[in-house]
Symmetry: C2
Subunit: 333 residues, 2 copies
């Protein structure tokens, strides 16, 4: 195992120290339980957004804490759900009296723990809405999931709902927008290589030198099939076809196209992927009016990519364009 770490046990805590040292103007890190909050939390009168999940997917979620996106993120151990007390304490820390939205990726541990945290917060008088993201079209159920997995649409939901929440829209409206983003987004990913969880010390699965996994999960969970390596254009077709037919996306739709790297794939390859995905979208009659290209929801050092298409309406577009100032995503004033 070749990693820039000190010890498997220390990775998450030391990365949090590094984030706080680097971004102390934007975020604060709370320990025991671990969570990251925006520096000016709680923002009074604003619905607060809390997300979280296993570590190893950086910049998601901690890198998305800040003005215009998340109010708090709860990092678990690598590829391991955070605990209800992390979620509860984060919820209490960011509640500014207008309630809290939990954005939950659909993995069994995350769902159960956020549900418990929501109940505990409600018992303390905090209004909580929860939205489960399940945008991955690759498989119906998977290793750690009843139903579809939550992947790339999570990043988009956090940005878009964060943009709306900043206007002090009511919690219900922010939660409804989150549901709309989830209902309008579809994703699928693939891997060229496995990744190694520090505690395990060896790759989470084996892929032959000439093989790839189509429909991979962000923890290396099996996808649809393992096949021989193909040129990038053919791979992009294999990802785009199930995405396009699932919603389905229709000619004339305005979409955001998100080409995401899994952590070990260089940007030059993501642009090769974007080129073909864009061409297919255009042939399908879609108007690609917004995009995101980069490694935003990752699987440690896994090589591979995922594509997310989100059907946009005016509200989503406006919220996407709103300023965001986080460690991992920032634009505007």
């Amino acid at each position: 195992m070749k990693k820039l770490i000190n010890a498997a046990d220390a990775v998450v805590a030391e990365a949090l120290d590094g984030m706080e040292a680097a971004h102390g103007n934007l975020i604060k890190v709370h320990r025991d339980p671990n969570f990251i909050v925006r520096a000016d939390a709680p923002v009074m009168g604003k619905a607060a957004l809390v997300s979280g999940g296993g570590s190893g997917h950086e910049p998601m979620h901690g890198g998305f804490v800040g003005r215009g996106m998340l109010d708090a993120a709860c990092p678990g151990a690598v590829f391991t759900s955070p605990t209800p007390d992390q979620m509860l304490e984060a919820t209490k820390a960011v509640n500014g009296g207008a309630g809290v939205l939990h954005i939950v990726k659909n993995y069994t541990g995350d769902v159960l723990n956020f549900q418990m945290a929501a109940e505990l917060a409600a018992a303390e008088g905090i209004a909580v809405e929860s939205v489960v993201i399940d945008d991955d079209v690759a498989v119906k159920d998977s290793t750690w999931t009843a139903g579809r997995r939550g992947v790339g649409a999570t990043v988009l939901a956090e940005k878009i709902c964060g943009g709306l929440a900043e206007t002090k829209a009511p919690l219900k409206a922010v939660a409804d927008l989150c549901r709309k983003v989830n209902a309008s987004g579809r994703s699928m990913g693939m891997a060229l290589t496995a990744c190694t969880v520090p505690h395990a010390g060896k790759p989470s699965f084996d892929l032959g030198a000439d093989e790839m996994e189509i429909g991979i999960g962000i923890h290396g969970e099996p996808g649809r099939r393992r096949v021989k390596l193909e040129p990038a254009d053919r791979i992009v077709e294999m990802l785009m076809e199930p995405i396009l037919s699932d919603l389905p996306f229709k000619s004339g739709d305005n979409v955001l196209m998100f080409v995401n790297g899994m952590g070990g794939t260089p940007l030059i390859e993501l642009y090769v992927v974007y080129r073909k995905a864009y061409e297919i979208a255009r042939k399908h009659g879609l108007n690609v009016v917004r995009n995101l290209v980069g490694s935003y929801i990752t699987s440690l050092e896994m090589a591979g990519a995922s594509i997310t298409l989100l059907k946009l309406d005016d509200e989503m577009t406006r919220c996407w364009d709103a300023p965001v100032v986080t460690p991992g995503l920032r634009w505007g004033a």
Copy 2:
């Protein structure tokens, strides 16, 4: 070779297509010769900044074209210098009457070709200043270099000088600032793994499963020494010590600390590196007043990291903070 590409010959052109499809609001891509210009080029009365180099280091340089940073970037083939005609045509395309600054990483091919392009541009009546970046303290000369290599300080110089140029400062002032950044910046990198140039089809060097290369170049050129893998904290000490003693950095200095990923290293590890680098800088009495953490000057899918320290003065800090809107780096209005 496992890559998301179609053919070795097509990578650069297809990635440029992808960049243009994704970022057509910020940049335009010119073909034959290949270069990227900001969408509103030429900006009349503004000193224009042109850089370039081999592809495979993305987002550098093409991802840094836009308002507040570069006016043009010339991408060569992977790890291969662009040609003088690329540089000349880019220079002509962005000259807004106030002259052009060439920011050149110190590699023999880049230096010679930019020199020829500068002479040809001068013959056409364009004022050109050239600054060679050579911030890598690892080795005195290297495979493709007389003198030190240009690495991480290039990113910082492009941002800082771009910020000054946007104020329509004279070319001479922008070039002098670039020289000051280069004189005030020091870098060193390391690799856990090699990378594979598409045309070669195999790793550019061999590293044992328990080995790393300290002082690596961004094309996989040999560094100072190949040693057994160590914990991240020890690796950071091995990078920071030669950086700190070279300028030298003194107690009380304000610095920007840039922790850069080589392309295949996940962000969580970069924060582990940042944590220790920050701790060492603080122990040395440095005030780390600005930072950048991410993969900005890469070596394809190489796993590893580099650290750059830049001693800041007020002008550099102000220019660093100025708005920037490029595909690869953006903040502010």
